[in-house]
């Protein structure tokens, strides 16, 4: 089993339209408002329409009256007629929806976006596009569907059409960049984002260019401008979040940890889910505490960040469901599928693990990590020949990084075949390989998986292997090993996280009885709340 993902960078997320709507990166610099929606209607107008309906009691007058639901201030007056509309036998679907919208706010939005089959069915998206070929969001969603089935050419065509219709759309530009990165055409991705006119003026696209340049190992055309923009506060903090994160990531890869921390603190003022996930991934270097309060600032979900946190806390049940949501957002990405198949495999849910691996391979057949996880799930389910053929395909792929994992899975296959000694030897070879590569966490994981395979296949001396795995776990912590050992009834306690820096510290002055929020990066382990006695000190 393998959970190692490619190095995470702050490349743009490409979510389906229904998820993107609530994220600030959809419109770039143009931000949705937060006031009250108003459509002005005349004060007496509802009375006249109400009077007309009361006089005629006709469904047409009722339909005309309920159209005032467009003005939220009129809804109270419309409750009675709306209730009647719902009981009318000839009321149309739309009329019923108008009535229920008046009675329970937000119904239509849910009906159109969230409960829509469009997000799931490529067929529905095609129908939408047949009717309105210039529906850009449907084109971008359809491209995602194509990509999730490995149809790169069709995905590109859909994205290109979307770009031609809406060349200024931040949503489309970021999706195309993400597409090129997904298909490993890093230079093409960078060339594209570099050439977009809007890039130099929109911080969301500047951030994309910086992150893409890093992936493509090319010099960024926006880095200097972005530094200046941050220095002179060219944009509001809300719009700077991903830009600061992208520069922070750049500083981090240059080894400038202090600078990177400062920039990430700025990025976390109004974080996006992308920034949150990046901060959690780079926590080893940044040491920034990404707590629930910070995550709750993200407009919607933050599934990736939450899943990574649950992973670190060895809560693989939550991590699995969060990763599923993440996979639903980015159906084409194999990243969440790798984690999901790993989590399910560690929990002993091999069917689910196999499903997740298959779904990931549907999008990217060449992903060897997914093949490794699939081989493990197949072996655990007793499909030993299929598992061996998967291992053979990994071997033919020539990926040296996956040699120890393959050896471990081969060991499991051999144990299941009853070849206990050969199986043990293969596992030991895998452990030896992890030791040579100084992969401590993976060594612990491998030993835990070895112990479970030994118990399941009733290998003589399995209790000895379990004890060895548990001792190793106590010495070198790994969340996956904790989960696997728990399935063997071992009390594998989760390690307390290392002390971290807070981005906000509250200070209460006892003398003045004032509570003050201080926005700065604290030292490691500093408390979130401080009591200051300034008066006494004086």
């Amino acid at each position: 089993m393998n959970w190692l993902l490619p190095t995470r960078r702050l490349i743009p997320k490409w979510r389906k339209a229904k998820f993107s709507l609530h994220h600030p990166d959809m419109f770039g610099l143009v931000q949705p408002g937060n006031g009250h929606a108003t459509v002005d209607s005349c004060d007496q107008a509802v009375d006249v329409a109400l009077h007309a309906w009361e006089a005629s009691k006709s469904i047409g007058d009722l339909a005309d009256l309920l159209a005032f639901g467009i003005d939220p201030r009129r809804r109270e007056q419309l409750i009675g007629p709306a209730q009647i509309a719902l009981t009318m036998p000839n009321a149309t679907v739309a009329l019923r929806l108008v009535a229920s919208e008046i009675l329970n706010q937000g119904q239509s939005e849910l009906a159109v976006w969230n409960n829509s089959t469009s997000a799931r069915s490529a067929q529905f998206l095609r129908t939408l596009l047949r009717n309105a070929p210039n529906d850009v969001l449907a084109l971008v969603d359809l491209a995602q569907h194509h990509l999730s089935h490995g149809k790169r050419k069709q995905a590109y065509r859909a994205l290109l059409a979307a770009y031609q219709i809406s060349p200024n759309s931040v949503h489309v530009i970021r999706a195309i960049t993400r597409f090129w990165i997904h298909v490993d055409e890093y230079e093409q991705a960078h060339r594209f984002i570099k050439g977009v006119r809007r890039t130099s003026s929109d911080p969301w696209l500047m951030a994309t260019e910086i992150a893409t340049a890093e992936v493509a190992r090319a010099p960024s055309t926006q880095l200097r401008r972005a530094h200046r923009a941050i220095a002179i506060n060219s944009f509001s903090n809300r719009n700077l979040t991903e830009l600061a994160g992208a520069i922070g990531g750049n500083e981090l890869s240059n080894g400038k940890l202090k600078e990177a921390r400062k920039l990430f603190r700025l990025a976390l003022e109004h974080p996006t889910d992308n920034v949150i996930a990046q901060a959690i991934t780079s926590q080893k270097y940044l040491g920034i505490d990404v707590d629930e309060k910070l995550i709750s600032k993200v407009p919607n979900g933050a599934f990736e960040g939450r899943a990574l946190q649950a992973f670190a806390a060895a809560d693989f049940e939550s991590a699995s469901s969060l990763t599923e949501c993440w996979a639903d957002e980015e159906v084409f990405s194999s990243r969440p599928r790798i984690l999901l198949s790993y989590f399910q495999g560690a929990l002993g849910n091999y069917e689910e693990s196999l499903c997740a691996a298959d779904a990931g391979l549907n999008a990217d057949q060449k992903d060897m990590s997914l093949r490794g996880n699939r081989a493990y799930a197949l072996a655990a389910l007793g499909h030993l020949d299929e598992a061996l053929s998967e291992l053979a395909s990994i071997q033919s792929g020539g990926n040296a990084d996956l040699i120890p994992q393959s050896l471990a899975t081969k060991g499991m296959v051999l144990l299941h075949k009853g070849l206990h000694e050969e199986g043990k030897q293969s596992y030991e070879a895998a452990l030896e390989e992890f030791k040579r590569l100084k992969e401590d966490a993976q060594y612990t994981d491998c030993l835990a998986f070895f112990a479970r395979a030994a118990v399941q296949t009733k290998v003589p001396g399995s209790s000895e292997i379990t004890r060895r795995a548990f001792d190793r776990y106590k010495k070198s912590y790994s969340p996956a090993a904790a989960v696997v050992l728990r399935t063997l009834d071992q009390k594998a306690e989760v390690k307390e996280p290392d002390s971290t820096r807070k981005v906000v510290q509250w200070e209460w002055d006892r003398q003045t009885n004032k509570l003050q929020e201080k926005r700065f990066l604290t030292s490691k382990g500093a408390p979130g709340f401080l009591v200051a006695d300034r008066g006494e000190r004086r």
């Binding site: 339209a17 709507l21 609530h22 419109f27 143009v30 931000q31 949705p32 408002g33 006031g35 929606a37 108003t38 459509v39 209607s41 005349c42 007496q44 107008a45 006249v48 007309a52 005629s56 006709s58 469904i59 047409g60 007058d61 339909a63 005309d64 309920l66 159209a67 639901g69 467009i70 003005d71 000839n90 009321a91 149309t92 679907v93 739309a94 009329l95 929806l97 108008v98 919208e101 937000g106 239509s108 939005e109 009906a111 159109v112 976006w113 829509s116 469009s118 129908t127 939408l128 009717n131 309105a132 210039n134 529906d135 850009v136 969001l137 449907a138 200024n168 759309s169 949503h171 489309v172």
Partner: protein, 363 residues
């Protein structure tokens, strides 16, 4: 032909505008009963409506009485109401030859001179042909309801829009309550477009020409909700009429306003009044919401035999981008092609009529 009167009547005590029943204007129009007072849905009407009898031919008329003197306390209001009333008369004059726009029969002033007073108190009166009410209480959403009648209504209103377009006018307040039924001749329903008081002129001389929107907000084109206006008159005003015609299709078949449906299906932070960006920034989201609303809630309500053609018409007419609105082939030639839409609707209505006859005969 224009029929203008200036009627001065001596009275003991001047009656109020809503108390004129029984009075004969210009020895020809006897006001029978009060119809409505005050503003209508759009807030546009500012007069008192009466049903009157034309003593010359015995026909019933609709008389609108405007009491502008009541606004004497505010010069601004007075000027505004006089301007609107004069404009409405002007518009009616411009539409006199249009067969599908409710016609003005006469107009003029009705003045009352009280005993012992030298100054008369006058009202502006507009006499119009009287219909049988609007289409709202006639529409039926039952699946077995007549599609022919609905298509014929659309045929008539599309013709009214075409007639106004030819006179370089845009109605800009097409809505169910302004679509008036008249006596049918056999199976030819006579439908006319009423209330031209909010019309827009291409010359720019009308009081509403500078307004972003003067009509009913429930039926506003989507772009005007976000304060967006095209530069070209055709893309701005005729396209708005086209949108409202498409919106009328939605009302007749689905019982909902397209504007209301699309706005309600947007997330609250993207709705008009909250979204701070430009219409062009949000048009992709609006188009997707519009497309899904049509596909899920509007199109399925159209009878199967007319569904394909009518759904295309709704899409042409209500496109969120005013520059793309209209019949596609005509758009490529530079016009909205509402005349083509009219022909299509007529053809569809005829077909629906035959279909309904056949099905009723087979029963």
């Amino acid at each position: 032909m224009e029929n203008k009167f200036n009627d001065v009547q001596n009275v003991v005590k001047r009656p109020a505008a809503d108390d004129l029943a029984g009075i004969v204007i210009s020895q020809r129009y006897r006001l029978e009963r009060l119809l409505h007072i005050g503003k209508q849905e759009s807030g546009g009407n500012f007069g008192v409506g009466y049903i009157a009898t034309d003593l010359q031919d015995g026909n019933q008329r609709f008389v609108k009485v405007v009491d502008f003197r009541k606004r004497l306390h505010s010069l601004h209001e007075l000027r505004e109401i006089l301007e609107w009333a004069e404009f409405e008369i002007l518009m009616h004059k411009a539409c006199l030859r249009m067969s599908k726009v409710v016609r003005m029969v006469a107009h003029g002033e009705l003045a009352f001179l009280e005993e012992g007073s030298s100054e008369s108190y006058n009202f502006i009166c507009v006499v119009m042909e009287l219909g049988q009410g609007d289409i709202k209480n006639h529409v039926d959403y039952a699946p077995e309801g007549s599609a022919y009648w609905k298509l014929w209504v659309l045929r008539e209103i599309s013709l009214a829009v075409v007639q106004m377009e030819r006179a370089s006018l845009a109605h800009n307040d097409i809505k169910p309550s302004n679509v008036i039924r008249f006596a049918s001749e056999g199976d030819r329903h006579s439908i006319k477009l009423g209330d031209v008081g909010r019309a827009i002129t291409k010359s720019g001389s009308g009081p509403f020409d500078d307004w972003i929107w003067a009509g009913d907000p429930r039926h506003k084109p989507l772009e005007t909700l976000f304060g967006y206006q095209e530069q070209e008159w055709q893309d701005r005003s005729t396209a708005a009429d086209a949108y409202m015609l498409g919106n009328l299709v939605c009302f007749l078949f689905a019982g909902a306003s397209m504007t209301e449906r699309v706005v309600s299906s947007l997330p609250p932070n993207l709705r008009p009044g909250t979204f701070v960006g430009s219409y062009r920034d949000i048009i992709d989201v609006i188009r997707h919401a519009w497309n899904m609303t049509l596909d899920k809630h509007i199109i399925p309500t159209i009878p199967e035999q007319s569904r394909t053609e009518l759904s295309s018409i709704i899409r042409w007419l209500t496109d969120p981008d005013p520059v793309l609105r209209g019949e596609p082939a005509a758009r490529r030639a530079g016009t909205l092609g509402l005349d083509r839409v009219h022909s299509k609707l007529e053809r569809m209505a005829r077909r629906a009529q035959v279909f309904e006859r056949l099905t009723s005969a087979s029963r």
